[in-house]
């Protein structure tokens, strides 16, 4: 259970979290599943945080229509939505009980801690099959693919 994240996308996710600070920022991870359960991110797509009130500093919501749109974009490029990324402003990059209650199976959830406006650490998590907890997924930063250079 490992997700490969090219360095360029690590920076994109960090920048999105920083620009959303002190609110939470979120988006989707598009890519491919390679042999077995190896996931390779090819694109990130930032999406608006549609959480309704001022608690966007500790909540995020991606609208179903935004997600549907992202799913269609992914399919056009022959990619699939591998998961979701979001930031935890001034909070460790671990899923909260709130994350757990609302988590979907299959998706890789990358959480980035943004401390005092600067992205610090990202970790990847996946919902366990019994829905009772998150399991940490390996997050490997890989060199950028040639076409992105």
């Amino acid at each position: 259970m490992t997700i490969l994240l090219p360095a360029v996308h690590v920076r994109e996710i960090g920048l999105h979290g920083e620009s959303a600070y002190p609110e939470e920022g979120a988006g989707v991870l598009l890519g491919l599943i390679e042999d077995g359960d190896l996931r390779r991110v090819r694109r990130t797509l930032p999406l608006p945080n549609r959480w309704e009130d001022e608690t966007r500093t500790r909540r995020y919501r991606i609208d179903p229509l935004d997600l549907l749109d992202a799913e269609e974009k992914a399919e056009q490029d022959g990619l699939t939505i591998l998961g979701i990324y979001h930031s935890h402003p001034d909070h460790p990059p671990r899923p909260s009980d709130f994350d757990l209650e609302r988590a979907l199976p299959f998706y890789t959830y990358i959480i980035t801690e943004v401390r005092s406006g600067g992205a610090v650490e990202s970790r990847a998590w996946r919902l366990a099959e019994d829905r009772g907890r998150f399991e940490e997924e390996g997050l490997t930063v890989v060199p950028d693919p040639m076409e992105d250079r």
Partner: protein
């Protein structure tokens, strides 16, 4: 028969299919039929009480059912139903605060000591005093015997053990202990000495479990009450920590 569009994360439960068929006269009936056809999908669509999970959004022929008749929206043959998740999450609980666990442990040790002393000396009034101090401490938001801890610290006998934690559950646990001891004191006044000592023993035992096993039963109770949304109980355990256990980070 309706055509149901399955979102990517749920396709592993529909044999990888993007669209499947299900039948039913309403949206709910179609979803229930879907759950029968693909049993492993059920727990991801429905929560324990049988309602749809908060992230499940349903569109019928591109229209959100919330603008139609909700789950009772009538389905006719050939209607297309889309399951589209709304993704939500976030760090949730308010930020943790520093809590000195050395002060809490000292408090527990002193409470156990006084209660044992009260029993040995057959001094029910001491039980009442400890109970009153615990209630007072809870109201002031500090351990009942914080002064003794400060003294031991000043003497260099104890060092702070500050962890990122929620102070409220500890406050609640002390309040609970104070209430039980007050009931014990009331029992003594009413002449039910064995009940009084029984309640005293409960508080001493729970303080002991906290002191020696690191399990705060009152805190666990607080978190369970928060979990079932009892007003006034809002905090979740620190990340990666079982309710009532010491925070691990």
């Amino acid at each position: 028969m309706s055509l149901v569009r399955i979102p990517t994360p749920l396709r592993p439960y529909t044999e990888g299919k993007k669209e499947v068929e299900a039948s039913g006269a309403t949206v709910m009936a179609v979803l229930e039929d879907l759950g029968l056809r693909y049993p492993s999908l059920r727990s991801h669509l429905f929560s324990g009480n049988g309602g749809l999970r908060p992230y499940v959004n349903i569109f019928v022929n591109e229209a959100d059912i919330r603008g139609l008749a909700g789950e009772a929206t009538v389905m006719t043959d050939g209607d297309r139903l889309m399951i589209v998740p709304s993704i939500a999450g976030g760090r949730g609980a308010e930020a943790l605060r520093p809590v000195d666990h050395a002060a809490l442990r000292t408090n527990q040790a002193v409470i156990i000591g006084f209660l044992l002393g009260a029993y040995v000396a057959d001094a029910p009034s001491l039980v009442a005093v400890v109970g009153a101090l615990m209630l007072l401490g809870s109201v002031r938001g500090r351990p009942a015997f914080a002064a003794i801890y400060r003294l031991l610290r000043a003497m260099g006998r104890l060092r702070p053990d500050v962890l990122q934690d929620n102070p409220e559950p500890h406050r609640f646990a002390q309040l609970l202990g104070g209430v039980v001891l007050s009931l014990g004191a009331l029992a003594f006044v009413l002449g039910a000495a064995s009940l009084g000592w029984g309640l005293t023993a409960v508080v001493a035992a729970l303080a002991g479990i906290n002191l020696f096993a690191g399990v705060c039963v009152g805190c666990a109770l607080y978190y369970w009450l928060a979990r079932v949304h009892v007003p006034g109980f809002s905090k979740s355990p620190p990340p990666g920590t079982l309710p009532g256990r010491r925070p691990t980070i």
